[in-house]
């Protein structure tokens, strides 16, 4: 991601933190930057390993708590999966997921048709729907060979 784009998102983070009475610590800024550079959907442990390179004294707990905090305030999301460990997604813009059942890779894709799906009436009437997404499951390009 371009530095200029990151700066905009960091400004955004600053505002959201202020709104939520959260302090913008160096750890949080660094973690957010690392997240923006992650194209995979890292677990807390993977993020901890990445973070340690930039900030050697950081603890796993800070990483894990920060990720949960970020997801609570909506700057990252938690990816749907089939067990442990929990995985995070820095991309909060609407998108869909392909799950490889072999290597467990989860890749993003965008698709306008999927974005425009209608919510069935019976659900629309009974519930409040915030988010809709399509999950495709199968074998990814790499595992196919």
């Amino acid at each position: 991601m371009k530095e200029s784009q990151k700066e905009t998102l960091l400004d955004n983070l600053r505002k959201i933190c202020k709104l939520n009475n959260l302090k913008l610590t160096p750890q949080r800024i660094m973690l957010y930057r690392e997240l923006l550079d992650s194209t995979d959907h890292p677990s807390a442990d993977i993020m901890f390993k990445k973070a340690k390179k930039k900030f050697p004294s950081i603890s796993f707990d800070t990483v894990n708590r920060t990720l949960l905090t970020f997801s609570r305030i909506g700057v990252v999301s938690i990816v749907e999966g089939y067990g442990s460990p929990r995985r995070f997604d820095p991309n909060v813009i609407h998108h869909h997921h392909f799950h490889c059942i072999k290597c467990q890779e989860i890749s993003d894709f965008v698709n306008q048709t999927y974005d425009e799906l209608n919510v069935p009436d019976d659900i629309q009437n009974r519930c409040v729907v915030f988010n809709k997404k399509v999950i495709l499951e199968g074998i990814c390009e790499a595992c196919k060979n």
Copy 2:
């Protein structure tokens, strides 16, 4: 579920077990019956509690291993979720999920339009897609009030 319908599914289980060189123990039969009666998407622990009532000497490991075995041979599926514990679904017929972000309930729904979604060309060309489903996230009827 009607007993007659269950018997058909149990016959099916018998065949699939034979195909996979698996033995049809009383524990497995009982667990499969209990699963068919589950309309929620139970975790291994919930299934263990249910199973104990019918089969007091059963161990948690047997329950957990059986559920994993069942999912491996395709008679139950593992539900996509956002962390622990893993949850199982006795309904392997195609359907979609509504996730309540408040009470964590996951409810099934069927929808033909969703079933007939096309897989985007770029994915179709690169990967093999076995399964597609739509996840709706929001607040369920009970939590809305």
